[in-house]
Symmetry: C2
Subunit: 395 residues, 2 copies
Amino acid sequence: MELGPPGGSGPAEPGPRLRGLRGADAAASASSLSRFGAEAGCRAPAVAAVLPAGGSGERMGVPTPKQFCPILERPLISYTLQALERVSWIKDIIVAVTRENMETMKGIIQRYQHKRISLVEAGVTRHRSIFNGLKALAEDQPNCRLSKPEVVIIHDAVRPFVEEDVLLKVVTAAQEHGCSDYDLEFGTECLHLALKYSHIKAKLVEGSPDLWKVTYKRDLYAAESIIKERISQKVCVVMDTKEDEEHVGHCLEEMLKTELNHVKVTSGQDLQQIILEQCYNFVCVNVMTSDFEETQRLLNMLEESNLSILYPVVVISVHFLDYESVPLGQKMEKVMQIREFAKEAKKRNILLSGLLIYFPQEEQKLRESLRQGTTIISALIKERNSGLIGQLLVA
Amino acid sequence: MELGPPGGSGPAEPGPRLRGLRGADAAASASSLSRFGAEAGCRAPAVAAVLPAGGSGERMGVPTPKQFCPILERPLISYTLQALERVSWIKDIIVAVTRENMETMKGIIQRYQHKRISLVEAGVTRHRSIFNGLKALAEDQPNCRLSKPEVVIIHDAVRPFVEEDVLLKVVTAAQEHGCSDYDLEFGTECLHLALKYSHIKAKLVEGSPDLWKVTYKRDLYAAESIIKERISQKVCVVMDTKEDEEHVGHCLEEMLKTELNHVKVTSGQDLQQIILEQCYNFVCVNVMTSDFEETQRLLNMLEESNLSILYPVVVISVHFLDYESVPLGQKMEKVMQIREFAKEAKKRNILLSGLLIYFPQEEQKLRESLRQGTTIISALIKERNSGLIGQLLVA
């Protein structure tokens, strides 16, 4: 059961193919699988995944093996594990790593709180690593804590964007299909090996363009951009609820909705729920008098949640300035406190910056500053650059 | 003579191959070609390039054909043209575009000042487009301003990172080699077509990983990151030359040299030369008293040069603050003038921001603010985000 072309082959294919190898035993039916996917918490069918991750990544042109290369400061393999963990019916995930990377891998599992992971030692080739993974799953292993699966998915550690529907297709194919000449012709050597040595039937499954493999440095760049784009799809606007002061906050929210295309802007009425729904961007409006009250409340809630464990969370603390009542310099000096908050927040992977928006009486001018504010908010969310935390930007 | 797999095939291959088709006429020898490459200005050998650019880019998932998708606000095809123009011995570059994109293409050529370009109308298939390009180069065309080439390179409009040495290899192969079974087996249908219809000999030439093709949205992301990285390799530190005030500027320069790995930091002694050498990043130190004097001088020089036509140029106007003599708010208000300069500079594709560095007497603390300043400079250069222009950042 294998996703995509084997380790030795090239970079992403236009429509990568998945290979499903049928298990020796009868397995739960495909329909029950999708039911298990939908109803989390039910008894999981016997599916496991094996990730060969013993590669050295010499094509990448960097000393770190590609599965350990950081994207937004988190190793690539952690994204792949995250993608598999999300699938409730994959009961066990076996990762094969070299002896020298065993401690690194343990650290990654602990830091990013990965669950259902077991480690085995990688072999000298990708096939040996897979074999070691399968061996760990075999029932006859002494002291084996793992249950013997009916289907095993073999997935490259460097394909972080695998989706549940594709995995389901593979498992379904593994259960339903036999091996055809077509598959042997278009598949790669794994299919031949399966037939030759295991007498196991094989089926080629159509993948999706998302299933590409990180091979070159440029693929890491692309992966980073895709991940940044994905976690920038939702922005939550948080503000206090004092009736009379709300107006400007709502104007900003409306402006964000019209200017940020493809971004869902929600208001933070039920912050707990929004955090649960994995929103990674917060615009926190501190109206006129209250300075950092709202921002601090938000930071506390974020700290209590574990939201920022996997991705850096962007928080923009918005403040308004009426030039006529307070001089710019004085207000700026006050809001510069943001630097101290930001230093603390960074320790918890929260990227905090301040935004001072000029708040003139005239509607037209106000719209202009709000529009500028929106441009800055968009840049901060899009780039997610930790080098700019604690800065006070002015619109 | 063709670079990379034909239009219909998948995304980047690990080591893309180049196909060279031998011209019907005898051509200048390979050695003379490389001599012409090295000694610019000599009589150019008869080499032309044809770029089929009539594709619709449906795989990209965006309405704009991929060759016109913007990278740092400039269309992808302009980067490819730039790569071919750099090669002095390519005399003519023929671009085949659809009738509906003809005006867009003319606009691109004018705006980015491309030279040696002729446009022809694209055909309904890639091969027809190539044919139209070749026809325009044929000697017997009425009113033909183009000279008939001895070798024609056919290059995908969406492979922006082609290098001179690879093009030279193709031309050399076109002159020296015949067609082999090996080539026919590993090449794609273009080789077969060449043999079948033109009785032209073909040769497969080994390419480089840089020669990949922009096919999916993720490839655009990768291309943008690669381009950003390439133009961020050099930073020039500009400062006035008053002996006694220079110290802090030099400290910053030293800090940039140690903190920015892989980045060449030069001092702007001979600005004209540095601009000529295509440095796209400037840190402009305005020491204590002079406010924007240095920055304005630099902006004027950049405006006179045409440096920012092809890439956005980052200029960071650095100012120092001694809290004990000037209050932060007052200084900030003063330096906030940067916003007006930035608005003007943006019109010329120059991204100007301000950086206020705290300048304490104590050496240890000074190093700390300089290090923070370096982090901010690095973020601004790396991201090159026009949403943050005119901002005053504080280290």
